[in-house]
Point group: C2
Chain length 365, copies 2
């Protein structure tokens, strides 16, 4: 079977199961519209530590342990752990997972990291190199603000185009297994640099990367937005979300009715003062793990196109007036395998026919 | 065929060809013992740029273009580019490769990055997801000193246990191809934290990670050091190299005669004032690409165990007095496939017999 189905897209020979997910967030995320969906809301965003970086590592450690627990598996059963974060040299990840004893492949994809982890993880499983892989991504509002923008105690006013870095960790266990939902296709993004230099408008910087991976995905697969129940970008927020709709419209794709963004879902714009929405590696990770995964599991969503988005900047690159290149990695997640879907559709049709028959509406053929 | 041959090791079903390598370094590296082996020695370590970070990106861009050229391939023929560096948010990589238009999977493995790139790259090719992958790693003395230690103009005295970050980029093209040398096995490392906190003694911090991956590799494969023509760690320098020999001795493995370290090869300790040796992502990458690869290509080395080593620290983690966790990823590279090796051995034996026959030393059987 040909796994590569276009310049940027591969189709897994054996779809990879997302066996379990876990999401642990801070209080602000817990107070938002998705509050009831998260596994754990931590009231203390310091997690009992004396630095924000150490706190982020605690989120990683606790949440990854929870993902293992929910999958009924031990760390020793994981063949690899694939994850990353936004901190310099990914120390949020390192100090979070260092005692797990799992072979570790560190990733850096900025806020697209969870998409990269799902991509590489499912290819390693489908390629025959692993049975179980733990993957995820984390971020922390305070460690990110300190590192990328201003020291928090300065109380700098934030422009309306800024987004709010999500505090938390989203993790999942991928498995060579027959339980849905499944990762079925992967479209790996290229770096897109449109020359945007405003680090307070990440949505605008990242939207072209989301559009690029969407166009590549539709071209490689021959599909259109209508082929998905939902298309979800990572952390473009209201500004970037609107840009994607407009740019895709110009390319002849109507995204209006089935496209949303994790950064739009996670905070309440009217009460939470987060301006353009949520962002950070954890934004896509915790929203997928808490809110979308159960809908795929229950079959309420049949096919989702998930495209976490990342801005590849650093404080140094901003100070040196370099542009903000961006990337987005798209992953197709399906609630059931194609033949299972057909079976379920048949079951439902038969049920409906039986109901209709009972109520005397139709005769059997 | 079973690809997983132990807890941490996989054996590729179809060994992956290292089609070509390229190495571009700064003048100090060019003045060292390996000077004649590098493809390009850049006399200006600023590369005409106005910042060290931008200079590092120029090393990445120029050298990766050279690797493509040496492989007689275009960027458009690469299915993925896998690479990383030491800078915050890996901007050396991002701004180096951003215009290549190749689907990008960013890696962070500190100075073990080139080993991680070779590992993931060869698994993606053997798994059927790619034909060609560009991979590599970079570092720059000035950008690394500024970020991890002290501003260079301060002229801070360096302890004898410090190593010197290599300026340069090492890159290679991996391919589904029948030309050796080949990557045949991969042992992915775990994070090892022995509590070392001295950021001026990275060799001591990383040596236990090298030992851990060596022990895992020998256990998984049933081999001993004698099964390799050479075993090469990434950037442990003289201090870490000696620790590895001693720790392995305690475990019953004699490493003395066939073990070296890229950090020991790249500078002349007597004339170059680099103290414990070379380090940085580029140390293992350029030494492999320039010095060891040709020896594998020519068959002078038949089987090499290459284990780049990485210290997973940041300036923040050091300031917060956290220990320095480390990781090492081992890759087996063989000059020819087993059956080719046998054929070559037979050829040589036959030649020898013919020579002996001609000189009347032996009778044919």
């Amino acid at each position: 079977m040909q796994k590569r189905i276009g310049k940027q897209t591969v189709r897994l020979q054996t779809p990879v199961s997302i066996l379990a997910t876990a999401s642990t967030v801070g209080q602000k995320e817990g107070d938002g519209p998705l509050g009831a969906y998260f596994d754990v809301v931590e009231p203390d965003s310091m997690m009992g530590e004396d630095s924000w970086e150490k706190a982020e590592s605690r989120f990683v450690a606790k949440n990854m342990e929870l993902a293992l627990k929910k999958a009924n598996l031990e760390a020793a059963q994981m063949d690899y752990v694939l994850c990353g974060d936004l901190l310099n040299q990914c120390i949020g990840t390192t100090f979070g997972i260092k005692d797990f004893g799992i072979p570790f492949l560190g990733l850096f994809g900025a806020c697209a990291t969870v998409g990269e982890a799902m991509s590489v993880g499912s290819m390693l499983i489908d390629g025959g190199f692993a049975e179980h892989i733990l993957c995820g991504a984390s971020s922390h509002f305070c460690s990110a603000e300190k590192q990328f923008r201003f020291p928090l105690p300065l109380g700098i006013q934030r422009p309306q185009s800024t987004t709010w870095t999500v505090t938390g960790d989203g993790a999942m266990v991928l498995a060579k297994n027959k339980t849905g939902p499944f990762i079925t296709e992967i479209t790996t993004g290229k770096i897109i640099d449109m020359g945007v230099t405003d680090a307070n408008n990440m949505g605008a910087a990242m939207a072209p990367a989301a559009v690029d991976v969407l166009l590549s995905h539709f071209q490689d697969t021959g599909r259109t937005p209508e082929d998905y129940d939902i298309i979800v970008s990572g952390d473009l927020g209201s500004v970037g979300h609107q840009i994607v709709i407009e740019l895709m419209q110009k390319e002849g794709y109507d995204m209006q009715n089935r496209y949303t963004d994790c950064g739009l879902k996670i905070y309440d714009p009217n009460t939470q003062d987060t301006h353009a929405g949520g962002s950070g590696c954890a934004c896509a990770a915790v929203t997928f793990c808490s809110y979308f995964y159960p809908q795929l599991k229950e079959g309420k969503l049949k096919r989702m196109l998930f495209l976490p988005t990342g801005a590849l900047l650093s404080a140094d690159s901003v100070q040196q007036k370099l542009p903000i290149p961006a990337i987005s990695h798209a992953v197709v997640i399906e609630s059931a395998l194609p033949n299972e879907r057909n079976e379920k559709r048949n079951e439902k049709r038969n049920e409906k026919r039986n109901d209709e028959r009972k109520s005397g509406q139709v005769n059997t053929v």
